[in-house]
Amino acid sequence: MQIRVIPIGLIRRFVSEAEITLPDGVTPRQLIGLLRIPGELKMVAIVNGKSRDLDQSLEDRDEVKLVTVITGG
């Protein structure tokens, strides 16, 4: 399946915006692992504009924004 990955904020440090091909059934958590985003970052996946459980499978043509909640004060 084809997925559009859009890194947000700090995640741009690790990933560029891209269309990628993935096996069917891949979850946001697996995608984050495949993209080698550091495991210490707590992640949020926004799929087609809505927050998605990291373990819920993605579908063909999904747009996935990857966000980390790390913040400064």
Binding site: I8, L10, R13, K42, V69, I70, T71, G72
Partner: protein, 621 residues
């Protein structure tokens, strides 16, 4: 005594008298230093009947045990006393360069009462402390005074200075070190102003310090400094400042927009985020004393209506307070507003929040042109904010300046018309720029429990909820879901005492996230020789929190005050947190239970006080 010097300078400005006293070592073991030790001294010697701006009010500056020890993030200090903004206990932490100099002079802190007859400054030259005339600096901005003091006392001197806002008793006036680093919150610049104290200048003669285990500490410091420097979070904020991931915060709903009426604004996210500041305006990076992180920004806006020459730049709180909170995505305007606040001496969070309240009040018609002297106070109109409103607030000039200089709560009470309902605070302190509805529900609890009022640095809940740290040795190993109440009270019962330790040790929360609990214990033991284990360290943290609660109780606060205004607890209207309710009461009830506190009085029970060796403090009540 190891680590600490044990000495506090007591100054009575009314008599121009200075006395140095040694505090019992027990005070340090029980209250650590910083805001904890300040609370202990205030509890014992503060005049609880005194108005915060009366001569009798006590103003305290305190270092922590690690000040000047070349440990990354460990040379902060605090100011404390009764806040003129909230009317109860307040404290505010500052990085920069003052704490090491004070410690090198031979002191852990300064306690000031009285009111000088003429504008004065307090000069510490080594152990010698004198009150010096400062009339020539009165009514001058902080930037110029900082330069003048360096010329007069030498480049190596370190100073704390108030601006015109402090002199004019603006209730959220701040105090700046080196014109860049602020004791921002709770209005202690006005307390200095009320005492006719323009500045405190320290110039040390010696840098010798006595440690319990110098070699043990040196080994630990070497390891920790390297770890702090190399941590991913450190690299990120070194590169792009504390607003490095502001954009991510917008997507999670953490960044407040238009007086907390919205939690999502996509276009603004890219415009205000840290990388935009780097690309457009950054000229240099800067650091507090001995810090390996260097999160501070130096910026220049070369042209346009918000042009500013090279100088101190904004961090996250200022960018949001003078950005999205006011409906603006103009980063240059936020830079200039921050620079003006630095020079005039005003807290950017309370100032921005008061303006955000005013903009909403103006939009609703609760604040009229008659109230504002014909000046429209409109969302996103940063030209008016920068050129007209900020100078009027600092000068307490006219109806508008007088109204807003009192802070959002007093302003709303004066205006009436229900406008208090859209203030955004706890216990009178305007909330910082992390919206607990999006950032994490645990923050709603800890904002409400913080003795000084809504505060994201009173404890590390912000980091707990973003999964930035785990402390299995003290029971914190929850996988927290930010927008949920589950395990939040249990987490707060750990983060609150840990935050009290951080703020008493005067440690930066960006640096100390890399330090494990056993290492914390070792730091205290190698420097101060306390012989602590983690239980004893956490007991000290709880004790600090409990004492501040007792102080507030003497000012009439109860559990009813441990809440947030409706705007901060109502379900968000958009973005990630839209429609989600914060189960605030459940968290609050459980927190009191876990902390051994009376759920009505909001203070520790007799049994809890006894278990924390606080009989002497109870006897002094």
């Amino acid at each position: 005594m190891y680590g600490n010097t044990g000495k506090i300078v007591f100054v009575d400005l009314s008599r121009s008298s200075v006395a140095v006293e040694s505090l019992p070592e027990e005070y340090y073991r029980k209250y650590i230093g910083g805001s904890g030790l300040a609370a202990r001294v205030f509890w014992e010697r503060g005049d609880f009947s005194a108005d915060p701006l009366a001569p009798e009010a006590m103003l305290l500056f305190m270092c922590g045990p690690f000040a000047g020890l070349k440990m990354s993030g460990a040379s902060r200090s605090c100011v404390a006393g009764r806040s003129p903004l909230t009317g109860h206990w307040g404290d505010s932490s500052c990085g920069g360069h003052f704490a090491p100099e004070l410690r090198y002079c031979g002191y852990d802190g300064i306690a000031i009462t009285g009111r000088a007859e003429r504008p004065s400054l307090l000069l510490l030259e080594g152990e010698k402390v004198v009150v010096v005339d400062a009339v020539e600096y009165w009514r001058q901005g902080i930037e110029d005074v900082n330069k003048a003091l360096k010329q007069r006392f030498g480049r190596g001197c370190r100073s704390l200075i108030i601006g015109p806002a402090g002199e004019n008793l603006v209730r959220f006036a701040n105090i700046l070190n080196e014109g860049h680093h602020a004791y921002g919150r709770a209005g202690f610049g006005a307390v200095m102003g009320s005492k006719n104290l323009k500045a405190i200048v320290a110039r040390a003669r010696s840098r010798e310090m006595l440690l319990a285990d110098p070699e043990g500490f040196a080994d630990l410091r070497k390891e920790l400094n390297a770890r702090i420097k190399d941590a991913l979070a450190s690299q990120v904020i070194r590169e792009h400042g504390t607003a490095a991931n502001l954009e991510g915060g917008v997507y999670t709903g953490d960044v407040p927009i238009r007086n907390f009426t919205s939690n999502f604004w996509e276009e603004m996210a890219e415009a205000l985020t840290g990388s935009a500041l780097t690309e457009k305006y950054l000229t240099n990076r800067a650091a507090c004393a001995y810090c390996q992180i260097a999160c501070k920004r130096v910026v220049e806006v070369a042209q346009g209506p918000f042009a500013i020459r090279k100088g101190p730049g904004p961090e996250y709180e200022t960018i949001v307070s003078f950005g999205s909170l006011l409906g603006s995505m103009d980063l240059a305007a936020a830079c200039k507003a921050g620079r003006i606040c630095n020079d005039l001496g005003m807290d950017t969070i309370s100032c921005g929040s008061t303006l955000a309240w005013a903009m909403e009040a103006f939009e609703k018609g609760d604040l009229t042109l008659d109230d504002t002297e014909g000046i429209p106070i409109v969302w996103g109109d940063m030209g008016t904010v920068v050129d007209v409103v900020l100078p009027r607030i600092a000068a307490v000039q006219g109806k508008l300046g007088e109204l807003l200089a009192a802070g959002s709560v007093s302003s709303a009470k004066r205006v009436g018309k229900g406008s208090i309902s859209y203030t955004t605070h706890s216990k009178g302190l305007e909330a910082p720029m992390h919206d607990p509805r999006g950032g994490g529900h645990g923050m709603a609890l800890t904002y409400a429990m913080s003795p000084r009022g809504a505060c994201h640095v009173a404890d590390p809940m912000l980091y707990f909820e973003m999964g930035a740290c785990y402390y299995p040795e003290i029971g914190f190993e929850f996988e927290l879901v930010p927008k949920s109440y589950e395990h939040k009270a249990e987490s707060a019962a750990i983060s609150v005492p840990l935050g009290a330790i951080e703020n008493s040790a005067c440690f930066c929360q960006f640096a100390d996230r890399e330090i494990s609990i056993p290492e914390w214990v070792e730091l205290f033991n190698t420097v101060a020789g306390y012989g602590w284990d983690s239980d004893e360290m956490m007991r000290a943290g709880r004790r600090v929190f409990y004492l501040k609660r007792l102080i507030n109780h003497r000012y009439g606060l109860t559990a009813e005050d441990d809440t947030l205004t409706p705007r901060l607890l109502e379900p968000a209207r958009d973005g990630e947190p839209q429609g989600i309710t914060i189960e605030f009461d459940k968290m609050k009830e459980r927190f009191y239970e876990l902390m051994g506190m009376d759920p009505v009085a909001g203070i520790p029970s007799t049994e809890t006080l006894s278990a924390h060796d606080m009989a002497a403090e109870v006897a002094e009540m």
